[in-house]
Amino acid sequence: MSTTTDSEDILATAARWAGEGETVAIATVVETWGSSPRPAGSRLAVTESGRIAGSVSGGCIEGAVAEVARQTMASGTPQLLDFGISDERAWEVGLACGGKLKVFVERLG
């Protein structure tokens, strides 16, 4: 998307935050099954200082993803996360909608 629109341009936001000296991680929905609220390609950007933009679900797993993002910021190692009804953790973190999704988390820079 372009700078002339304010569509959900998470990469632009992430780039801006990085430009301000923040450590940034980007989480991307890479696969979905069932009634996942956000389609593949949806992104969430998180900074070490706690700023968050975008979403990878209807708010159910953002907290858990942000937690993993902090690890990725520290280690630099990307992570591929599975959330779903077959995964007990999904219920713990609140993905009660019955969907399943994979989220890829990477550090920027």
């Binding site: 998307m1 372009s2 700078t3 002339t4 629109t5 304010d6 569509s7 959900e8 990469l11 632009a12 992430a14 780039a15 990085a18 980007i26 991307t28 890479v30 696969e31 009634s35 389609p39 593949a40 390609g41 990307p78 992570q79 591929l80 890829f104 990477e106 550090r107 920027l108 820079g109």
Partner: protein
Amino acid sequence: MKADLLERLMAARAAKTPLALLTRLPDGAQALLPGDDVPAALAAEAEAAIRADAARNVTIGNETWFIAPENPPLRLIIVGAVHIAQALVPMALPLGFAVTVVDPRRAFATGERMGDRVTISSDWPDEAMVALKPDARTAVVTLTHDPKLDDPALEVALRSPAFYVGSLGSRKTHAKRVARLTEAGLSEAEIARIAAPVGLDIGAVTAPEIAVSILAQIVSARRGGPKKRAEA
């Protein structure tokens, strides 16, 4: 994601070039197309993702790649810098549209009325439309009520690949418009593309309500109409 790759991605976006970001899972190796060298089968999948404007996963050999296409923004061309246009602009931007407002009446087409995040054209609508070249990612809506302004814009829009063409006016106004456009040589099929009366029928009364109904209709046209809930 490496900083230089993000920089290249942002530059391609600024140049309004369609591109695809490829990420190998789970290790996160990345490539940007066009530009980087990748196997032909993967490049073909990336091109298909760009055309479909939808992300996809592909497994080629023993590698899984996530492909995220990045297309230039959708465009909305509004003919008539009228009150409804003032309501449409701030709602269209977060839907991902780059907005152009066309109105040769300079008293209406001002930055003060339309805001600073739109492109304003004071050209005559037919000239403006020819210059803007509506494509398959463009929606056009005419709002002036004035045949001198709406009709020339419609004549160009209806012969373009624009995915949506809407025109404000009552059934009676539209019937007269159909007669004029027929007289002007447009085919029945071309004229039938006009969404009129414009917008989804939600009983809209105020300018912002009419803007909601128009944008709902545009989103529906873009996303392929109502989907059965059972499929979701």
